[in-house]
Symmetry: C2
Subunit: 299 residues, 2 copies
């Protein structure tokens, strides 16, 4: 196990540092007018996070034989949607958070109006990237990638999940309601990351089905683990305000089912993710490792 | 002139009522979860405005022989980008406006968080529409349409123009600076409306060039006339708070060059728009009429 772990960590570090370079290249330079907006877009996107969605896109690209030069663009588009959602989610009218990834949130570092525009412009840039680079041999397949990301981001995906989250604050949710919220709020974009990565290569309908099941399990596992970590990790480790969700009266898997059961549920979802990959076999190795990383991470 | 005017008005009314039906059909039903978000998206988009961008898209579609069934989808996508920008622009951290099209603004009617998500989700929906319907025979041409709208909406288009606008408040701008702001803030999406309408059919590179020049003149004329109307119209006629820009210390064409000169400039831009269409001839008739409507309107 020791060797495999090291191999995965090297791969993960490679994708993460590659993505840092790709995002830095694809974001408008801070010197281009309007400079303040471009500087803030870079602030909100660079040096950030674990890059879980790009990891998923690259791992899924290995299933379809996608070229890394294509996957990195698709992964950047997904990551920009994710970064925009964090900027807007942190704003005073939403979660009103001041710390993200150990740095002041965008509206604190700049101002609210700039943060609003940063999110808006990052979303536009994501779709610009998906349309201005050649990402699939067949342009129709690439149009389908645009559709996948747009519907994942929209009112029946991520933005809809945020709305459900807003309305849920202070109310106890049943487990099915909690799952419905997270399938939208975080699950949709995680699914898009997997599908877009795979769509940069050739993928059969059957394998796509397996990837879809994998993505569903992993997306939910990610949120369950987030709730567990939010409950018992320190602010310093997380780089964001810990225990905030439960203090704000937001329903979490820990509050809904208890800590040991939430940990157990994450394990079950990890097993489901592995099971979904069985029909793919060896090319799905990285996806299996990413699922392990998502569930076993301590930050 | 009387007959031509009546014919144009009938055409305009036809496009406007058609768009109302198209938008009502393309927006998620208010009953679909999350219902509050979908209801607010419809509130912000339906029964609204002159539909100038759809008028431009339909008129440009006549130049390229585009089918109305395609143009209406492209026009709806552009209109959703426009509607999202109004919702975000009205928010307290931006222009802090309470009245839009004679109705309470979205954040007043609902709440700030919902308004934020309405804008976010409308932007996603615009790109979903451009990718999930067949809008051009060649999928690559359709990908180019996605790129045109995405770059027009982004940090080097509309969102960038908003940022310049923010930073300009309270400062006198030179005329070139004012033009730079408006080319981004409103011009980019107006250009996208023209190009997307035409791209639903077959358009030569030369005609596209003419349309581009037309769109540049019309986009700027639209803003100059807006400034003139904002200066001398009453709140009741405009359906929004009049004289607000100058009260907020925002630079306008009226403050930068004086009222008679601003009126004169709008006339010059109208002449430029007509001149750009000369190389196209008869199929550009509606575009010429839309330019007249934009400059001669009283609301």
């Amino acid at each position: 196990m020791k060797i495999a772990e090291t191999d995965f960590q090297a791969w993960m570090g490679g994708v993460q540092s590659r993505m840092e370079g790709v995002l830095a290249r694809l974001l408008p330079a801070a010197g281009i007018a309007p400079a303040r907006l471009h500087e803030a877009m870079r602030y909100a996107t660079l040096e950030g996070g674990k890059r879980v969605r790009p990891l998923l896109a690259f791992a899924a690209g290995e299933v379809s034989g996608a070229s890394p030069e294509r996957v990195e663009i698709a992964a950047a588009a997904v990551e920009m949607i994710h970064a925009y959602s964090l900027v807007h989610d942190d704003m005073p009218c939403m979660d009103d958070d001041v710390l993200r990834r150990g740095k002041p949130t965008a509206h604190v570092q700049y101002d609210e109006a700039t943060a609003l525009l940063v999110g808006d412009a990052l979303q536009s840039l994501a779709f610009q990237l998906l349309s201005e680079h050649r990402l699939a041999d067949d342009p129709q397949q690439q149009l389908d990638m645009v559709k996948t990301l747009a519907s994942a981001a929209g009112s029946r995906g991520m933005a809809g999940g945020q709305q459900i989250d807003l309305q849920a604050t202070g109310k106890p949710l049943t487990l099915p309601e909690l799952e419905f919220m997270h399938v939208h709020k975080t699950g949709a974009i995680i699914r898009a990351a997997v599908l877009l990565g795979a769509s940069c290569g050739e993928i059969s309908a059957e394998r796509k089905q397996h990837l879809d099941q994998y993505a569903k399990a992993v997306g939910l596992a990610f949120q369950v683990v987030d709730d567990v970590l939010d409950y018992d990790a320190s602010t310093a480790t997380l780089g964001k305000t810990a225990g905030k969700d439960s203090k704000q009266g937001k329903p979490t898997y820990v509050s809904a089912m208890g800590l040991p059961q939430a940990r157990q549920f994450a394990e079950e979802l990890r097993a489901q993710a592995h099971a979904a990959l069985r029909g793919i076999g060896a090319p799905a190795r990285r996806l299996a490792e990413v699922a392990d990383f998502i569930v076993l991470r301590k930050f």
